[in-house]
Symmetry: C2
Subunit: 198 residues, 2 copies
Amino acid sequence: MIFIRKPIKYYYHYPAVVTVVVTKAEDRVNLMSVVWHTQLSSDPPLYGILISPKRFTHKLLKESKEFTLNFLEYEDYEIAAFVGRSSGRNVDKVSAFDIELSEGRLVDVPIISRAYAAYECETVDIRDYGDHTLFVGRILGVHYREDAFENHLPKVNTLLYLGSDTYTTVDTQERVKYGKEEVERFLKEWLGKNEYHP
Amino acid sequence: MIFIRKPIKYYYHYPAVVTVVVTKAEDRVNLMSVVWHTQLSSDPPLYGILISPKRFTHKLLKESKEFTLNFLEYEDYEIAAFVGRSSGRNVDKVSAFDIELSEGRLVDVPIISRAYAAYECETVDIRDYGDHTLFVGRILGVHYREDAFENHLPKVNTLLYLGSDTYTTVDTQERVKYGKEEVERFLKEWLGKNEYHP
């Protein structure tokens, strides 16, 4: 194992699912792809995204208090690259990249029509962490394409980001279920053998 | 597209990379797998993990102020399931599941020897979001296995979680690079055709 102190550039925790953040302020719709994001809470349903203050989306998010998160398939990596590597300050991304949008149901911000899932969010907290800002969205509603899921688990070629402008996807042929039941069976055997008293 | 208001259970943004959080308090080492996590800042290097207050790890994290994050390959899904679906309150996971550990370099918390990458962190912020707590770690150092990366991009079968105790991995045969250069070429052509003045 190699060890580095005080890392600056590090992709060791990648890949990450790409989400495209859509914002709208003063009738201007903007899109930006983000790979630093996570669910924060189940109930209430909260989701966090990290945005650099340098980005145009940062300004729009501060103005509008609403956004949508859009999840794309691997085949749409160009959309993610387009909206990630250009700035809404210089170009109207929706028309330049010809991105089809659908209206939001509970927010005045659209979703990407090609997304297989999209979350409508209202901003409930904004907090700076180092060189980025955490925008916390309360999920008001979820859109999803029925054929993209099986027993609520995604079965599509989800778009993943590896770092350095490189994209990949999941191996849809490879999956395994291993949960509470299997773990309890293992522990019961182990406890029997070792006379362990928890 | 199907639309749901006020979702409670939703896996539409999965898969997510699994990270195993290792904690140590009063000479007791504990491990827990987590899929709600994200980088928060590049400089300083900050990383956030979400932990339910119900979990034993929550208590240990509040006591020790140090932890490590460990990234595993798909073949190690049993380790993730074991430490995710059992509680350190009832079982000593390290001995029960026979998990080999190596000493941390800058923190008094071990890393998992089989991990292909691991981050050593010190807790710099703790904040509740809904039913979970965000623990913010400053990354003090990074371990990585040289053969697991190529030009800093992971090339291993990263362990991904799909929801409902189901694991999958990346398609290591499939990757594409599409970045600033390609986007600028596209925009230049588009600008030429549309006489767009940003």
